[in-house]
């Protein structure tokens, strides 16, 4: 119980920061605003590190649990309850650290953002960032469906305003598209959540999982209809899946992403790529796999297939871009296709690789967006044709960029490789997936090299194309820029060279989840076979009765 306070603390620290920000006089203390926001995000980061340090790798279940009853309703004879229930396990631990790691970076890179200077409203800006952090942490920590849904929806609001107010030219279109797209998926999920809660008699995730474990065919047997029909389970699975697929985004639900990314301010892009998209993949692991293990197995080839299509499609369309930010945005589709492939390989290598790749993608693609942002501050363009010879003009920056670009394309020794390698190991060893999934996935790895190298070649190599109105300070890296890039580099090398700590953290949880899915699927098959036999017997008896009746 007491250890769970740490989780709550991490969760609500950004909210405290949000509260403090409201009392800062934005006219007099413009500087104070950013420092307060940065301070709170860094403190949150350190507390999340404490959480990680105290995390017991051997324990596959939820840790640092805290639970208060939030509401309970009497519906008919059943008591339905929903709790404030936070906890951390191996699958969410790394994502929580990732969130608190990316947030200070997002705040710090905003310190000198020209768009903020132009359009002002810093107080709103930093408040929204902290609000966003709070909501994202909630998504990763909450173990109750209703409360989860609340946090899930809250994440939309700050991002909507971040894009809509501080974005580029077509920001309103992008913001509305982002909002409506995600919202339409969430509505489906809400309906499914209500159904699930009603059927299980509770919204508390571990309790529901216990019921699913007892009877994996639970969803098809609600309302006393013990039929072998799989429609209800599939529909529920589909409702959750579409909500998450839009967020990830899985092909073909991805078209909001490039617009949102291109229009968002740098910090928005970094957080969007770094954390928000992970909510989708995390949701797939946490909800689809845990609530619908049997359906997950059944749909695994389909979803992994979408993932693979996304890998190749995203890479290819990324290669075709002339806009550097769009190129990076589409690369996300490709990378997250890998994560989806890993998750639906449904074995521990795949799942661990996918979880690590979520972190990797947050770091590498977040890093790439930082690079684009830093370039944009100087050249004020996103067209690749307007860049050239940046390596020469900014040698240090060019070197750092090369490392981040290579990490994104999965060069061994850097983080991306470890994730991709493990995912490929998972998918090739998966009993649910055909070899062609791996084959096509590797084609994606090849294509990754083409677009990353294209980007690097056009922007960093070749003839110098100086920034407009360049003076001697233009090519200087500001300390904030260096301060955000160095942690990214550190993470890239750490995961690339010594990923043991990360695999240890998620290992036992991933293994437990995989075993749970396998067992549930077997039980589900047995149960379905029984029900079919039963109904066949029923039909026979009916026939027999009818026969005897005549």
């Amino acid at each position: 119980m007491d250890s769970g306070f740490l989780t709550t603390l991490v969760l609500f620290l950004p909210m405290v920061g949000f509260g403090v920000l409201l009392f800062v006089d934005s006219e007099k203390n413009k500087e104070a605003l950013k420092w307060v926001a940065l301070g709170f995000s860094i403190v949150t980061f350190f507390f999340s590190l404490a959480l990680w340090a105290g995390f017991d790798n051997a324990n596959p279940d939820l840790q640092f649990v805290q639970q208060w009853n939030w509401l309970s309703i009497q519906i008919g004879s059943t008591q339905i309850s929903s709790d404030y229930y936070v906890g951390v396990d191996g699958l969410s631990m790394l994502l929580i650290v990732l969130t608190t790691f990316i947030m200070p970076i997002g705040i710090l890179i905003s310190f000198n953002a020209s768009v903020l200077k132009e359009r002002g409203r810093e107080k709103l800006y930093y408040s929204l960032l902290l609000l966003l952090e709070w909501a994202m942490l909630g998504v990763f920590m909450i173990q109750d469906l209703i409360v989860f849904y609340v946090f899930w929806e809250v994440t939309l609001v700050p991002m909507y305003f971040l894009i809509g107010i501080w974005g580029s030219e077509e920001r309103v279109y992008a913001a509305v598209k982002f909002f409506l797209y995600t919202m339409s998926g969430s509505i489906l999920m809400l309906i499914a959540i209500l159904f699930v809660g009603n059927a299980a008699g509770t919204f508390i995730l571990p309790d529901i999982i216990a019921q699913v474990q007892a009877n994996p065919n639970l969803w098809n047997e609600t309302a006393g209809m013990a039929s072998s029909s799989t429609v209800t389970g599939s529909l529920l699975f589909g409702a959750f899946f579409i909500a998450f697929a839009i967020k990830v985004p899985i092909f073909p639900f991805h078209s909001w992403l490039p617009d949102a990314h291109v229009q968002a301010p740098t910090a928005g892009s970094v957080i969007l790529a770094g954390v928000l998209l992970k909510m989708g993949t995390y949701g797939l692991v946490r909800f689809n796999l845990q609530l619908f293990p049997a359906e997950s197995v059944q749909f695994a080839p389909l979803i992994a297939g979408l993932g693979v299509v996304g890998i190749i499609y995203g890479a290819w369309v990324s290669y075709a871009q002339d806009n550097v930010k769009k190129l990076v945005a589409y690369s996300s589709v490709s990378h997250l296709g890998f994560v989806v492939l890993g998750i639906f390989a449904l074995n521990s290598q795949g799942l661990q690789g996918a979880t690590l790749q979520m972190v990797n993608h947050g770091i590498s693609t977040g890093g790439l967006f930082l690079l684009v942002g830093i370039l944009y501050e100087r050249w004020h363009t996103k067209e690749m044709a307007d860049y050239g010879g940046v390596w020469k003009l900014m040698p240090l920056f060019g070197g750092i960029s090369l490392v981040i670009a290579l990490s994104s394309m999965g060069l061994p020794g850097l983080n991306g490789f470890v994730g991709e390698f493990t995912i490929l190991m998972g998918s090739v060893g998966s009993v649910y997936l055909n070899f062609f999934f791996t084959l096509l996935g590797t084609i994606g790895v090849i294509l990754a090299a083409t677009y990353i190298l294209k980007m690097y070649q056009h922007v960093y190599m070749g003839d110098n194309k100086p920034a407009p109105h360049a003076d001697e300070n233009t090519y200087k890296l500001h300390w904030t820029e260096l301060a955000v890039l160095i942690p990214i580099l550190f993470a890239i090398f750490w995961i690339g060279i010594q990923p043991g700590k990360f695999f240890d953290t998620m290992g036992s949880s991933a293994k437990q989840l995989v075993a749970y899915v396998d067992e549930s699927y077997d039980a589900y098959e047995t149960r379905q076979a029984d029900l079919e036999a039963e109904s066949a017997a029923q039909v026979e008896t009916n026939d027999a009765t009818e026969d005897s009746g005549d």
């Binding site: 078209s255 290598q349 240090l396 060069l411 470890v418 390698f421 070749g462 890296l477 300390w479």
Partner: protein, 835 residues
């Protein structure tokens, strides 16, 4: 704990292999950090370095690669420090690598080193019958090895993914060759890069390159090997594109990286497939384990399995693709000729010490996997799919590249094609089971090819020097103003661009750079396989002997094909080498530049640093052959191999004893010396050299004279050869353009046109529905809402009209109403009566 291990590594030979790649990698890190430190010392951490023109005195005053550019200023101490760090790292590596090699020979002894106890039991009788050579020792696993857990994977917590190091005979010969060749390249680089503004970057990257290669060499599993493999891919990218301002340089860099990356990823697919079948990637767990190999050989492959491909066959084909990319075999050879865009030491590194050797090394390392259940040495030889592929692709590449080599103008291009061709020899040898001959040729080739590349670099350097001299001369003669704004003008004479690498601009260089001439000659003769004296002869001869042995003993057609194709390729090799030597060094200078070529005096640092390594490598290019002289070779055999062929006896225990088809696969005796293959290898070498001499030495070319080869083969063939059989254009049309076209026209259309189109349609429908509802609202809801009061109002108005105040009207209405009611009652009553 880490520090303890680090300390132990100095004394414990099982841990020492970690140190071998450690030093260059640390050197890379140190130089990189130093660059940061330098910026810090310049008082502004975040600012780019103070720049000066590349033609500044600090950089030797002349730089064809930096025409009219500004480059960062690097103080002298900094440049020296980078060199010192690089050299120290390489020296330490050399020390530890060689102490491992000689330690192993001392501890285990050739003939025992690398033997696997478990496998030995299988062939115990065989061993009992045949007494051991060399020292016998009671080692358990006669290798140096250690490993640590890298990440926890697998279903149980015990079986984590482990990485480690392994030193077995194959590793040890690489540990002998790589550090010394790389070390010489480092020394040479001091001279070659002496005036280069990016010297520190160069040394950092080349350290990383050596580190990557050594990681690959000492790795005990495929994953770590792949890491080294890819680090080299990266280094080749950044070093080929070292002068990244040049379009040709960055295009070559991207090409090299992309082509090898395609191959690497396919290799990665093979690796993960192997892992899925065996659950481990450790070499000794998989490849040295007969049972696992049997299992892999008997498993049907997941692809083409129905066509009879075994799992080991498929893995072999996939992993070989990686080798085909890295070792530049047909059809993925296209990147290597372009790779000369980098500084010449890099070419030496890529073509000799690292990179391309890595491909062949990887094949030998995993050789049992490729052989599978076949046996090319059996009485009735069988070839698995990978072997067949290697034999055909290797021999084809050997010949194919050799033909292209005959028509090149660029001094480095000739060598580039010869590398492809020589690697074809090795791959072909591997295809017919002659893995020891391949390993032998790998080592000798590394020495003489490194020598040749560095010699050609020294030629180019000398030519650039000559160009500078001539240019200065002209500048002084014509106008002296160019000196003031060297930014734009000094080298802006594109109209008379001089190619310092074109052999037709050279001639007579033997007088200008005699040391280079002699070393180039030794390297060239070794490449041609000049009989008895040179290393190239012995290794090439062994490949041919193996091929001929298969042909005569087993009557195998594949062996025969390999033999004749390689013999022809060897002939062409000797020919183009002689052509190159003749064009470069013989006759008289054909240009003014060649007349003034030089390395800045015999005792200048550039001259010494660039020529001393040549002498060392020339030594190895001769003596490296003597470790593998067949014992039954007349006279020389009894001198160099009194007991047994040292190289053969050492390397043969790299692989396990394994009997496929009733005969031993890997522990085979070297073929006996036969007259015909020796005669052939002497004949092709001398014949090729003679033809070359006839065409290019007897009557050296005059300035402006066309290549006599054109007269013989005709203009069209010559051009085709020069244009590399149009392979680049073919690939461009076949892959690059369609990929780009589909990307831009189809995929973008799907994304923006279709998916977003559908979304916008949905949005439009919603808007339309919204509009519809709005209209409906206006008509119906509002209509009803407003209509009811309106209707009431209207009704009221109408009602008001009835209230006319006329009594007659009222009465009339009452009357009518009464009648109506009466009729209703009557009807209902009547109706009732009827019912």
């Amino acid at each position: 704990m880490l520090f303890d291990l680090f300390g132990q590594a100095f004394s414990d030979k099982n841990l020492m292999p970690w140190l071998v790649p450690f030093w260059p990698l640390a050197g890379f890190a140190l130089i990189s950090l130093l660059t940061l430190l330098l910026q810090f010392l310049q008082r502004d951490f975040t600012k780019p370095l103070h720049t000066i023109p590349a033609t500044d005195h600090n950089y030797g005053g002349h730089h064809p690669d930096y025409d009219g550019m500004d480059v960062p200023y690097q103080p002298f101490w900094f440049r020296i420090t980078a060199i010192v760090i690089g050299m120290t790292a390489m020296t330490l590596t050399l020390f530890f690598a060689w102490s491992l090699v000689f330690g192993a020979l001392d501890d285990f002894g050739a003939g025992t080193f690398g033997k696997i106890p478990s496998a030995e039991q299988a062939v115990e009788e065989e061993q009992a019958a045949e007494p051991e050579h060399g020292a016998t020792s009671d080692c358990e696993d006669c290798v140096y090895q250690s490993n640590i857990e890298w990440m926890s994977l697998g279903e149980s917590s015990e079986t984590g993914f482990r990485i480690g190091t392994l030193v077995d005979p194959l590793t040890s010969i690489m540990l002998f060759m790589v550090p010394i060749a790389a070390g010489m390249i480092f020394v040479y680089s001091i001279g070659y890069m002496w005036h280069d503004p990016r010297q520190a970057r160069f040394f950092a990257l080349i350290c990383l390159f050596a580190g990557g290669m050594l990681t690959l060499v000492v790795a005990d599993n495929l994953m770590l090997m792949f890491v080294g493999w890819e680090i080299m891919g990266l280094c080749s990218y950044s070093l080929i594109g070292f002068w990244y301002e040049k379009e040709s340089a960055y295009n070559a860099a991207v090409k090299a990286f992309t082509v090898t990356r395609v191959a690497d990823v396919i290799m990665l697919l093979g690796i993960v497939y192997l892992w899925s079948l065996t659950g481990t990637l450790n070499f000794r767990d998989i490849l040295y384990n007969t049972e696992t190999l049997q299992m892999l050989g008997n498993t049907k492959a997941i692809l083409f399995g129905s066509w009879g491909l075994s799992a080991s066959g498929l893995i072999g084909m996939l992993v070989i693709t990686g080798t085909v990319g890295k070792s530049a075999q047909f059809p993925l050879h296209v990147w290597l000729p372009d790779a000369m865009e980098g500084p010449t030491p890099v070419s030496a590194m890529i073509h000799a010490a690292a990179m391309v050797s890595a491909g062949v090394y990887a094949v030998i390392r995993m050789y049992p996997l490729y052989v599978g259940l076949s046996n090319p040495h059996a009485a009735d030889p069988t070839f698995s799919a990978p072997l067949l592929y290697m034999a055909i692709a290797g021999s084809f590449t050997a010949l194919f590249a050799a033909t292209m080599g005959t028509a090149q103008r660029d001094v480095k291009a000739v060598l580039a094609y010869s590398t492809i061709s020589q690697l074809g020899f090795m791959i072909a040898a591997l295809g017919i089971g002659a893995y020891i001959a391949a390993a032998f040729h790998l080592i000798t080739h590394a020495f003489f090819k490194a020598l040749l590349f560095m010699s050609s670099g020294s030629v180019i350097h000398a030519m650039e020097h000559g160009e500078h001299h001539v240019h200065e001369h002209h500048a002084h003669a014509h106008n002296r103003q160019g000196h003031d704004d060297h930014h734009h003008d000094e080298h802006g004479h594109d109209e008379e661009h001089f190619d310092a690498q074109d052999m037709f601009n050279m001639g007579g260089l033997r007088h200008r750079i005699p040391v280079t001439f002699w070393t180039f000659l030794i390297g060239g003769l070794s490449l041609s396989g000049f009989p008895l004296l040179t290393a190239g002869f012995w290794s090439k001869d062994e490949i041919l002997a193996d091929a001929w042995n298969g042909t005569t003993v087993h009557g195998s057609g594949l062996h025969m094909m390999v033999f004749w194709v390689l013999a022809l390729a060897a002939f062409l090799t000797a020919f183009y080498t002689m052509r190159q030597l003749g064009l470069t060094f013989w006759g008289d200078a054909r240009t003014e530049e060649a007349e003034h070529a030089g390395l800045g005096g015999p005792y200048s640092i550039v001259s010494v640093a660039m020529q001393a390594p040549l002498i060392v490598l020339a030594f190895f290019a001769i003596v490296a052959g003597f470790i593998g002289v067949p014992p039954d070779f007349p006279i020389l055999g009894s001198i160099f191999s009194p007991e047994h062929n040292f190289f053969h006896n050492l390397v043969v225990y790299t692989l396990p004893a394994m009997a496929n088809g009733g005969a031993e696969v890997f522990h085979v005796e070297a073929p006996p010396v036969r007259f015909f293959p020796v005669f052939m290898s002497v004949l092709v070498a001398l014949g090729g050299l003679f033809v070359g001499w006839l065409m290019y030495w007897r009557k050296p070319l005059k300035a402006g004279q066309a290549d006599p080869l054109i007269r013989i083969v005709g203009e069209n063939v010559y051009t085709t050869l020069q244009r590399r059989y149009y392979m680049d254009d073919l690939y461009d049309w076949l892959f690059v353009r369609p990929f780009r076209w589909v990307g831009i026209n189809v995929i973008k259309l799907i994304d923006k046109g279709f998916i977003d189109g559908v979304l916008h349609k949905i949005a439009a429908i919603f808007i339309w529905i919204g509009d519809f509802i709005k209209t409906l609202n206006a008509w119906l809801i509002d209509g009803v809402g407003d209509g009811i009061p309106k209707a009431i109002f209207g009704f009221g108005g109408w009602m008001r009209r009835t209230q006319s105040g006329r009594v007659q009207q009222y009465l009339l209405i009452v009357l009518l109403a009464m009648i109506a009611i009466g009729i209703l009652f009557a009807l209902s009553a009547g109706a009732l009566a009827i019912g």
